[in-house]
């Protein structure tokens, strides 16, 4: 396949507007030939913003089938599998926004669709394109740290990404909360850096919805040694926002968003070394990681090689997330539940307070 790949983008939410459309338009390897979005006013807005031709904008995603050789799926998470399979089964290559799907079962249907037609299935974990991710992998292989004993990753913000569709508000549409939205990037990197991981414990603050805070402990392997990793994620408050890997000889540290280098703190020393590649490995994409992602996807299509993150790897991170949720325990939050009975104890008209899920009286009786 030579010339530019005909690329479609399915879903025109915030990530499409801020990342995928600009990246696709700036790439010499792709030609944006279709954009689909069910919300007409949103579609018109993006058409004007990016000066897109009217003929390439569609309300119905099925119009993309004949107009693209490859698509980026940038839809709410619960739609990834069904629409992804529709494209894959038509031999249209798919770069799917993370997470690949909301369950392993859904991921497997996508893998099967990809296998049966030979269409490439890639997953949009853009932080894999950070030089620091590559560099960290290389540095771990050099054994500079000696035997690795543990790692700790924290990422927390007050609020965060605001998907226009609001899909992030429910478990059905998002597949999870902060673990999926923020944490899946790290879960993917953790599997890349350390290989298969075993979940030791997982706690979150969800009450039937999607968690805003979670803490997880994983057991990973490093040359036959057990490495315990702790992950803390929050959408209600700031955390240290970095990854620290501790070894016998010192510590590697990568701050969130630190895309070009890795900090090395030798043990028993007050030195800090900033390690980076001698020359950038960004190629024509500069520091646009979404453009790198698209061009890596196109390279995989052209060469038949593996994209940076393929469907199998995307499935592995979904599997680990699914396992976390299956053993979830509640985070201790005394400020949430310890005063409830005091508040409700003095509400007098108990017989009038009837929600569809029970009564105050039942609550107080528990």
């Amino acid at each position: 396949m030579s010339g530019r790949i005909r690329l479609g983008i399915v879903g025109a939410g915030a990530i499409a507007e801020n990342a995928h459309i600009p990246a696709a338009l700036s790439s010499n390897l792709a030609e944006l030939t279709a954009l689909s979005e069910t919300n007409q006013s949103r579609l018109r807005y993006l058409q004007q913003k990016f000066s897109l031709k009217h003929e390439i904008c569609f309300v119905d995603y099925r119009d993309v089938f004949t107009r693209a050789d490859a698509v980026i799926i940038a839809l709410p998470n619960h739609l990834h599998a069904s629409l992804g399979c529709e494209f894959l089964s038509r031999s249209i290559h798919v770069l799917c926004e993370k997470p690949l799907a909301t369950s392993v079962q859904e991921c497997e249907t996508m893998l099967e669709a990809s296998r049966s037609t030979g269409a490439v299935l890639a997953v949009g974990y853009y932080t894999r394109f950070f030089s620091s991710t590559n560099l960290l992998k290389r540095l771990l292989e050099t054994r500079l740290l000696g035997t690795i004993s543990s790692f700790e990753y924290e990422f927390g913000t007050e609020g965060g990404w605001a998907p226009l569709s609001g899909y992030n508000l429910t478990r059905q549409t998002a597949g999870g909360g902060v673990l999926v939205v923020s944490g899946s990037h790290f879960i993917d990197r953790m599997l890349y850096l350390f290989g298969p991981a075993r979940i030791l414990s997982y706690k979150d603050d969800a009450h039937g919805g999607v968690e805003a805070n979670c803490v997880a402990a994983f057991d990973c392997q490093d040359s036959g040694n057990s490495v315990e990793g702790h992950v803390t994620l929050s959408k209600t408050h700031r955390l240290s926002n970095k990854l620290r890997i501790v070894g016998a000889n010192g510590t590697f540290e990568v701050a969130e968003g630190q895309s070009e280098s890795v900090a090395y703190y030798p043990r028993d020393s007050d030195l800090r070394h900033e390690i980076s590649f001698t020359s950038p490995i960004t190629g024509s994409a500069g520091d646009d990681h979404f453009k790198m992602e698209i061009e890596d996807f196109i390279r995989a299509i052209r060469t038949g090689g593996k994209p940076m993150v393929n469907g199998q790897e995307g499935t592995e991170s979904v599997a680990l997330i699914e396992e976390c949720y299956s053993i979830a325990q509640p985070i201790d939050e005394p400020w949430v539940d310890q005063s409830l009975k005091l508040i409700m104890g003095s509400i007098p008209p108990l017989d009038k307070s009837v929600g569809t899920r029970g009564t105050i009286q039942e609550f107080l009786g528990n």
């Binding site: 992030n168 805003a212 003095s346 008209p349 929600g355």
Partner: protein, 379 residues
């Protein structure tokens, strides 16, 4: 009429999020939440609620959101447009759907920066003052009662003072100011702080939903105990391991007022003239250097008390008697201005008519607040 479903506006805010938590966890009523941005909804998305994303200024969206709800709790704040047009849309829809309760969250700020002594109880009428936020809340109250009279909408207005607790802006603001050395105590912090713990306010909202005696009334909602600013600031300082003695005591803080460009400029001039930077430049003019030296010597000849008094006047009225520099404290900071209020707003009326009893004590409220501050690494 039974209340089965409540529409909550401003549900992603501090009060709204806690109300959603309590409603869901106690299973007492179902909530539909009207939110403007999903970015700040993480706290309430922990619950499988009925989410509606929209703009209060969009009349159709508001009407649709109210449909099927038996009551409305209006907590949303925002621009003047949201506070007036958004509220009007909501009141219109609530009247049309004949909801059995419309609870409007106002504030004791309706009495301005210098609340009269009579505002110990709700019988004291509120008027326009020099506090913009209070005026906006007062205009909202007036709109709410207009709809109550015109359409027999069963409204309740709640006026809390400083709301503290987990996620509270008051709590976080105080922590930030103490930590950064920008907090001071006016007259040693002797005046009442007028606090309500968030869960006590939630109890008042629930009582206002169900008690028929609430309809058409305005209620102050406060804690049972009256805490002074000194106690309040000392307790937060203690959480930060900062000695209360290091927080400067301020006197003669002028009440906040609307900006007066000319007057404020004139008042600022002495500070500019006396600043080291200005003097070092102006001293290059020999005549001025001579006058300046003369004035400085006269100043030095005054008693220390007189010198201090002059410094206070020139520095906008603040004076430090502790270790920290009082000049770091902005006398126009709302948390400084608020300390000049001597009135204690009483929630006796809420107790009498609603059975409100502020079940969470100050010490318990502070204990729960500390748990959260530690868990969220604020301290």
């Amino acid at each position: 009429m039974e209340i089965r479903k409540v529409l909550i506006t401003g549900a992603t805010g501090f009060v709204g999020s806690r109300l959603c938590e309590v409603l869901f966890l106690t299973r007492c009523v179902d909530a539909r939440v009207f939110i403007h941005s999903t970015a700040s909804a993480a706290r309430i998305a922990r619950f499988p609620l009925d989410f509606v994303v929209g703009d209060l200024c969009d009349r159709n969206a508001v009407a649709k959101a109210v449909e099927g709800c038996d009551a409305v709790v209006h907590l949303a704040r925002g621009t003047t447009r949201v506070m007036q047009k958004g509220l009007r849309n909501l009141l219109t829809a609530a009247s049309a759907h004949r909801v059995s309760r419309f609870i409007h969250m106002s504030s004791v700020a309706v009495y301005g920066n210098n609340p009269p002594d009579g505002s110990a109880s709700e019988t004291e009428p509120a008027h326009k003052t020099d506090l913009a936020y209070g005026n906006a809340k007062l205009e909202e109250e007036e709109l709410v009662f207009t709809f109550s009279k015109r359409f027999a909408l069963p409204v309740v207005v709640l006026r809390p003072p400083n709301i503290y607790g987990p996620y509270s802006g008051f709590t976080l603001g105080l922590i930030d100011r103490i930590r950064s050395g920008k907090m001071g105590l006016v007259d040693g912090g002797k005046n009442p702080c007028n606090l309500v713990y968030i869960d006590n306010l939630i109890q008042a909202i629930l009582l206002a939903l169900w008690k028929s005696e609430a309809v058409g009334e305005v209620f102050f909602v406060t804690d049972a105990q009256c805490i002074s600013w000194q106690t309040c600031v000392a307790d937060y300082a203690s959480l930060l391991k900062i000695p209360i003695s290091s927080i400067p005591s301020l006197t003669r803080v002028q009440p906040s007022s609307r900006p007066h460009i000319f007057r404020d400029s004139v008042r600022a001039l002495p500070r500019v003239f006396l600043s080291g930077e200005f003097r070092s430049v102006i001293r290059q003019v020999p005549l001025i250097a001579m006058i300046e030296t003369n004035l400085y010597e006269r100043f030095q000849s005054l008693s220390p008390e007189r010198q201090e008094e002059i410094r206070q006047r020139l520095n906008g009225g603040s004076s430090g008697t502790r270790n920290n520099s009082p000049s770091a404290v902005d006398p126009r900071d709302p948390m400084i201005v608020a300390q000049r209020r001597s009135v204690v707003h009483s929630s006796q009326k809420a107790g009498r008519l609603l059975g409100y009893n502020a079940p969470i004590s100050y010490s318990e409220g502070m204990r729960l607040t500390e748990c959260w501050l530690r868990a969220s690494r604020r301290i």
